[in-house]
Amino acid sequence: MRARVSLLSLLRAGLVVLAAALSAVVLPRLGAVGPDLILLVVVPAALLGGPAKGALLGLGAGWTVDLMPPAATALGVAALTYAAAGAVSGLWHRDGGRSAFLPTLATLAAASTVAAIGILRDATRGWPVPWVATGWSIVLTTGVGLAVVPLLIRAERGLIRRRLA
């Protein structure tokens, strides 16, 4: 196994920790619903690397979310959720594809995956499902992703070109 830690993986790990911390500290103070910052880091990697890579990063990012205090009720739920979202958004991976449409579709699909798992979790536990908040979360994530995802893809492509990945 090539166990060399690249600049790109360091950047992704840093972004994941920052996104998880911001979603715990800053976003709840701004409003009841906000964009899913974790997905905005997972989706670019999945688009560049495919489903397996997306799922791997999603799993790691989800574990960060699970362990970020106040830690969740059940450890591992966010990990599996984001792994699924990473795998789903990786389905839009194309070799050398530079479509402006793919990132949006992949973000929408990933946000919908996270929302669907959340709805399933609430429904099976007999809790009321927050449909409106879930819808807004998908819209906000896709909207912010419209700007952030292509930016991150460009930055990561630049690192790969300079052999820093």
Binding site: V25, A32, P69, A71
Partner: protein, 276 residues
């Protein structure tokens, strides 16, 4: 990593995650070393990210303003603890030592049933598990996990939290939780459900205060929880149920206090009965 190897790694990691999830669900506490370790690493980061928020201070309630002012002078002095105590009308809270704290992180909005916050005091400040957390208006919740510099608090409105309460002037006993009873009218988000021990003993406007636990853990007595806003109609259920509006708004929590309950050390003197 070559693709087959990556798939193998991914499969192993997912299996490990599912195993840990099962372990965490079946034996709560067995994975606490993971949470405590992560809290020790991420807690200081969350504390650092919480900077001054001038725009939000304007929205704070009067009680909280007083707490903020007290907080700014000095975080953990006894003088400030006295000021925080003065804000609280609760007579029970006056006998306890209070540790002022600031909320630094919230549970993600995506998890609808979870109401947890992280506060910026931990075991180094003397916080231990199952202490009561209060704000100027009333009960916030109880400490469920303690790291070196931060603690996690289970807040009123979390599905896992049930509080024994006294209702109204007569002090009738019931319990408050976020789970609505079967068949009752749906509650708005943030509202709580009150279940009385007896039928027909609750009225709109009744104050709901904590009943208190043995040794003041996890809840000290006589701390306001909320007000009864409506009583559910009789549907043939065993006891009365009602809707409670909590006094503390968890979405805008900022300055809170951990009540370091000190049990009494002086023995109670017996009294002699006097018949005239």
């Amino acid at each position: 990593m070559t693709p087959p190897r990556r798939h193998r790694t991914l499969t192993i990691l997912i299996v490990v995650t599912v195993f840990l999830l099962g372990l965490d669900l079946s034996r709560p506490g067995s994975t606490s070393f993971l949470r405590t370790g992560a809290a020790a690493a991420f807690g200081p980061l969350e504390r650092a990210l919480t900077v001054g928020r001038d725009d939000d201070v304007a929205r704070l309630t009067r009680e909280r303003d007083e707490l903020v002012r007290a907080r700014r002078q000095d975080a953990v002095t006894v003088q400030q603890a006295r000021e925080v105590t003065a804000v609280l009308a609760s007579p029970a809270a006056k006998s306890a030592k209070l540790l002022a704290a600031r909320v630094v992180a919230f549970s993600p909005a995506s998890s609808s049933g979870d109401r947890r916050v992280t506060i910026d005091v931990g075991s180094r400040d003397g916080v231990t598990k199952d202490l009561t957390v209060i704000a100027g208006a009333g009960l916030v919740g109880r400490v469920i996990r303690v790291a070196a510099w931060t603690s996690d608090v289970l807040v009123v409105g979390d599905r896992d939290l049930t509080i024994g309460v006294r209702v109204g002037k007569a002090g009738r006993i019931g319990s408050v939780s976020a789970t609505s009873p079967v068949g009752a009218a749906p509650r708005r988000p943030g509202q709580l459900s009150l279940t009385m021990l007896q039928q027909g003993t609750v009225a709109v406007g009744d104050m709901v205060t904590t009943l208190g636990s043995v040794g003041g853990r996890p809840f000290m007595p006589d701390i306001p929880v909320g007000t009864v806003v409506s009583v559910d109609s009789d549907r043939g259920q065993l006891t009365s149920t009602a809707v409670v509006e909590p006094v503390v708004h968890t979405a805008t929590l900022d300055v809170v206090a951990v009540a370091l309950f000190t049990g009494r050390t002086v023995p109670r003197a017996p009294a002699t009965g006097s018949v005239k």
